[in-house]
């Protein structure tokens, strides 16, 4: 009995640094600036004008849309590229397969930050700076996709081949087997790939500040740092109002779907 009390006590204590920042973010966003350093857990005087200020200072709706659509396109694109390549490397035998796999895997050794200078140069010469192209195509086809390919390959290797052989007997071609049999079965792995790809894109910071230069093109992480007064000091409560709008929708989705989230990730981790 007393062991249980100790365990609960310890867990509650350990929870504080994990839960308190989110609580503080949400509540401080509704405090007037005079209260921002007060110790009270709830605002004494509630204000929602910070939320209006967010939209007045930045094209925040546009920026929200930018982040959202980029993350969705990157996620779908990565799933497609990774599933195709992962399947082929796991299941199809073709000449040069191993060499090609090693070529792709080198991406694991070369994080996209290493190549930011030439990539910037490349996109600049194509006239694509201050567009969203670099934030979309590099993650889908470049280094960030490699881990996804690896995870999909590991998944398809572990998949029993009998299912596909049966389908082949029934006259289904290779592409049909992939699309109708293997792909639907790979949902857990695809789910995990989708989650971490979405989060990776949603949190991207170095690339946007390198490539994007006008507020209407900004993504959320970059926009969040723009809420400063004319002296460059942070407008805490406005910043946190914007931060709350960025963080809370994702948290809600997570709480609703948390079982799939966590178990999907754990599953992939063990396999990968």
């Amino acid at each position: 009995m007393s062991r249980k009390v100790w365990l609960y006590g310890l867990l509650c204590l350990l929870c504080v640094p994990f839960v308190f920042p989110t609580w503080w973010m949400v509540t401080s966003s509704m405090k007037p600036i005079s209260e921002i350093f007060s110790e009270s857990l709830l605002p004494r005087e509630w204000t929602f004008s910070t939320y209006e200020t967010v939209f007045r200072m930045q094209p925040f709706g546009q920026q929200y849309w930018n982040s959202l659509y980029i993350a969705v396109v990157v996620t779908v694109g990565t799933m497609a590229v990774a599933a195709l390549a992962g399947y082929a490397f796991a299941r199809i035998r073709f000449p040069g397969q191993n060499v090609l796999f090693v070529v792709v895997l080198t991406g694991l050794l070369i994080p996209s930050e290493v190549t930011i200078v030439p990539l910037f140069q490349m996109f600049q010469s194509l006239g694509m700076t201050n567009t969203h192209w670099p934030l979309i195509i590099v993650p889908i086809f470049g280094a960030p996709c490699v881990l996804a390919i690896f995870i999909m390959r590991q998944f398809f290797i572990a998949l029993p081949p009998e299912l596909e052989e049966a389908a082949r007997m029934d006259g289904l071609g290779r592409a049909g087997i992939f699309y109708r049999i293997a792909l639907p079965l790979s949902r857990p792995a695809l789910g995990a790939v989708a989650i971490f790809t979405f989060l990776h894109s949603w949190n991207l910071y170095l690339e946007p500040i390198v490539y994007l230069s006008t507020p209407d093109m900004f993504t959320l992480p970059q926009a969040l740092t723009q809420f400063v007064d004319i002296y460059g000091g942070p407008m805490w409560n406005v910043q946190l109002a914007a931060a709350t709008m960025t963080a809370v929708p994702i948290l809600i989705v997570f709480v609703v779907a948390q079982r799939q989230f966590i178990e999907g990730l754990a599953h992939t981790g063990v396999k990968g």
Binding site: V81, V138, G142, Y205, F261
Partner: protein
């Protein structure tokens, strides 16, 4: 359909399936890597519009650059602190959550939740909390401790960025450890208990060896990840005070995109690449040698 047409069609489909990934790797990974190597042999100032072949001069500069030395030290501290703190906390949380206890799902959700809070949002709220009059010092004040100005002292700034990063992402490693712990067969513990092994002994001699593949996996992810931490540094400390939190990637950003020294920036990229590649290969090597029971 004969065997050979079937075979040839399979080849074709194989190439088609890997083509997007392969072309992407060439265009966005390998060719840029070669370009990084070439740029590093040139003096290239974007503002000045100069581009001139200088051979190994940038590398000579690299060797004599005190800021770079500081930056390597900061990177090593950051990576070491992060890995040690992250893995031990993740393991502790996983062990606690693996007890037979009601409500562990709730706690798991709470510990995991920062992973999903957008990175810069998380960093901004910590920036507020770490101000001299912020809530971290407020809490310390309750215990009679006069807290420092966290982000303005050399050591405290480094501690701050490490802790902020650990709490943000430890949930990921926790989940991986939890899955690994649940894979340890219960009879082993019972047998050890009968043999008179205490809790710590069971943990050290059964749990740790059996989850060693996960320990290795998480340490790879965490170390390589620590070399890519940029946003937190850029928002919390801008590499300061002085150069105390200027990790390599932040120094690279400063040189290339703030001072517009693309050539020297590329040289730092080469160094970053060598470090990441060496660490990854080393850990893969260790995986073969040391890790027990890998299926």
């Amino acid at each position: 359909m004969t065997f050979w047409t079937c075979r040839r069609r399979d080849n074709l489909i194989g190439y088609l399936f890997v083509a997007p990934a392969l072309l992407g790797s060439l265009a966005f990974v390998l060719i840029p890597l070669a370009m990084v190597g070439w740029y590093s042999l040139n003096e290239w100032n974007v503002l000045g519009g100069t581009f001139e072949f200088i051979g190994g001069e940038n590398y000579k500069q690299l060797l004599n650059d005190e800021k770079l030395r500081d930056s390597l030290v900061a990177t090593a501290w950051f990576a070491a602190g992060l890995v040690v703190l992250n893995l031990s906390l993740a393991l502790l949380l996983a062990v606690l959550l693996n007890q037979k206890l009601r409500g562990t799902t709730l706690f798991r959700t709470l510990f995991f939740s920062p992973v999903l809070v957008s990175l810069v949002a998380w960093t901004l709220v910590w920036q507020l909390m770490l101000q001299p009059e912020g809530s971290v010092n407020g809490l310390l004040g309750v215990f009679g401790v006069d807290g420092p100005n966290w982000l303005r002292g050399d050591t405290t700034a480094m501690v701050s960025v490490i802790v902020v990063q650990v709490i943000k992402n430890v949930g990921l490693n926790m989940v991986l450890f939890l899955a690994a712990l649940q894979g340890v067969p219960a009879p082993l513990y019972e047998a050890a208990k009968i043999d008179g092994a205490g809790a710590w002994r069971r943990f050290r001699s059964i749990t740790i060896p059996l989850i060693s593949p996960t320990i290795l996996l998480t340490s790879i992810i965490t170390i390589v990840g620590s070399l890519q931490v940029f946003a937190q540094i850029a928002v919390l400390t801008q590499g300061g005070p002085g150069t105390s939190t200027t990790v390599l990637i932040y120094y690279l950003y400063q040189q290339a995109f703030q001072f517009h020294h693309f050539g020297y920036g590329a040289t730092i990229s080469v160094l970053l690449f060598v470090i990441v590649a060496a660490l990854t290969l080393l850990q893969w090597q260790m995986r073969r040698k040391w890790v027990l029971h890998e299926s």
